[in-house]
């Protein structure tokens, strides 16, 4: 075989992007972690005030708080902002043009309006149009369905990720789902807990440190042997 070329990483990025791999890129390329940024600030780092407002309104209709914690309580907006600045930076152009699209559609419906001031019913109708791939007044870019999919993906990532990434604030998403949190570091589960005959203590009820997910049995630790 020929001696391999050893191009710069930048060149690699261009080659892949040129081959139509823009979406793959963010997954392939590790970036500075959004986690630190999200912890450091809960105010917009990437999104403009208008984008921040539109994104917040859309996220709260995707994961509403009407009957329990939703995007608002979990801090999905802050997660999105930091994710688009870091790990998912390749999606930022699509999301930002989509957010502008939301406001454009709102203005077409009601002169002077932006998406965030529409009624929840109107907002849902816009989102349903995006999800269905057709929406009157939508700009040529981005494709409505692609924008909807990315926004929902980021909403769910922010809702259900480990809180270290800046979303799932105070375990709001895990509480809503009924997922009690990671268990390995807390010593795992007992056979009785696996069978549902003993309760599992969720992470938001565990005390800091290494308190087991299972209440410790009398006379011994519940962790692994050996």
């Amino acid at each position: 075989m020929n001696r391999p070329r050893l191009p710069s990483r930048r060149r690699f990025l261009l080659e892949v992007a040129g081959a139509g791999g823009a979406l793959a890129l963010g997954l392939v390329w590790p970036r500075p972690r959004a986690a630190r940024a999200a912890r450091a600030s809960a105010t917009p780092a990437l999104l403009s005030p208008a984008e921040w407002r539109a994104a917040g309104a859309a996220l709260e209709r995707i994961l509403p708080s009407d009957s329990g914690p939703g995007a608002r309580e979990a801090g999905c907006l802050n997660f999105l902002d930091k994710s688009l600045l870091h790990e998912d930076a390749h999606l930022a152009p699509l999301v930002r043009s989509g957010l502008a699209g939301l406001d454009a559609v709102a203005a077409a419906r009601r002169p002077g309006a932006v998406f965030a001031v529409l009624s929840p019913e109107e907002q849902d109708a816009v989102l349903a149009g995006l999800a269905g791939g057709e929406l009157p007044g939508w700009p040529p870019e981005p494709p409505p369905r692609a924008f909807f999919d990315v926004l929902r993906l980021e909403a769910l990532l922010g809702f259900l990720c480990d809180p270290r990434h800046g979303g799932n604030r105070d375990f709001a998403g895990w509480r809503r789902l009924g997922y009690p949190g990671p268990a390995h570091a807390a010593g795992g589960y007992t056979p009785e807990q696996m069978r549902g005959t003993a309760p599992i203590r969720p992470i938001w009820k565990r005390r800091p440190g290494r308190e087991p997910a299972a209440p410790a049995p009398a006379g011994g630790a519940s962790g692994h042997e050996g």
């Binding site: 791999g21 329990g68 929902r152 789902l177």
Partner: protein, 557 residues
Amino acid sequence: MEAPFDACVIGTGAGGGVALQELCEAGLSVVALDRGPELGPADFDEDELRVVIRDALFSPEQLETFRRHPGEPAAPGRYNQLAHAVGGAFTRWAGWAWRLREDEFRVLSTEGPVEGAHLADWPLSYRELEPFYERAERDFGVAGVAGANPFETPRRLPSGGAGYPLPPHPVRRGAEVFEQAARRLGRHPFPLPVAINPKPYGGRPRCTWGGACQGFGCPIHAKASTLSVCLPRARATGRLDLRPESRVVELVADASGRVRAARYLDREGREREVRARHFFLAANAIGSAHLLLLSRSARFPEGLANGSGQVGRNLMLHHGATVRVILDEPALGHTGFEAFRALDDFHPSDPKRGFIRGGVIAEVSAFTRQPLVYALHLAGDPRLDRGFGEELMRSLEEYPRALTLGSVLEDLPMEDNRVDLDPEVHDADGIPVPRITRRQHPNDIAMNRWFRERLLELGEACGGSRVFPLRVPGVTWIDEEHPVRGGAHLMGTCRMGTNPERSVVDAFGRAHQVPNLWIVDGSVFPTAAGYNPTLTILALAYRAVDHFLRAMRRLDA
């Protein structure tokens, strides 16, 4: 200049792990190269976003391309569940440890030729592999109950080979529901054999049943792997030179047709070469074929050991029908490990069903173990009218009661299903990436549909409020338009056989054309079988090294 090693192992997953362990313990000097870093328990947490969704721990730089038909452009992406790290994907496996059924070694003679499929018999029988299955089960600590599966090939009784080395684990509620439902239907569920400790074994602790198992590294080494079993044994000999972050880009052949050296890039991207007398290639069905195709020379213009033209062909990935049941009680899918109960009633081939071959069914936690995977699969479910708002929230809240029934189904080998070098897309090192070309044989699609119906019946018998197929195209649902594009069960691409014109390696994994090259990973499988491949990869690796050592000792004598 560095003296040649006795043996060089390339790739340190299941097959490479056994090779480096056995070669070191036999007294050979061994250099083992892996393209990824050496991770350990300290790196293994349950951060689903980082480890599973973004896959930033095990293979952050993975890049492949995919297309369905030759002649089409191939789209860059990440398709196969690889792990570029010492220990390979064996670190994050589910632990399912099967022996193949006797008939799975002779598919061509059992079924006869099938149009569009490249069927073959394995050049060895179940009985020839059985002693090595026993060694693998013992070394890696498989927990199970011999004879509990009435459809498995009966185990040899003498010499302590009758049972499993470890008893079965306690069971999770969802698996119990599945087991009871299956019995009501007259089926034969049994404890699924796993290489996970139900009690301390081999110097490793028992499993804590903490949930995050498949897809993750085990933080306490209760799950058997290269990291927990092979590396400690090999290192104890003092004869292992492990070189992480060493990416082999060419096997260099000399004029006589033997491999002389492995050329690799070290962590700084510097080109280096290591010489050895014998080479054991275990880079998986994607990586091994890729490396052989990269290793071109005047003697091997189509790639090393590729005189047959079969290198890269017959790529098999399995497929699986999957059904979701919403119970009226917690299924507890986030506890335990991937699966506790399976059934094989539908495994034996029966052409009257409208297709040949079959596979195994189990209650699995793959899609209910952790919140993100559950939610992301749900979000793509076409049953949701809108996929957002209160409707999505109600589906998310079903998470604790969600039970999943899955299957591992045999896909038929096809010559055009292959790995080759992408002519356009190069990776960060300037190497052409693996290009996957893959369709699904009509037999696969018919089998998948039929198994989906059986899973729906089993799901109904589980009770609960709703039963429906999980419809993630190309993952839990296949059709003509949506073949499986990548998998964790990487098989074919360097098939073993007796005819050097139709196969790449012989019955022991030795390359027909290259006498000092052995392939010890899933790429040597001639057919896929309806079981997870790992225990068979381990057994074949034991058998290859055993054969190699015997031949070497004969020469020395």
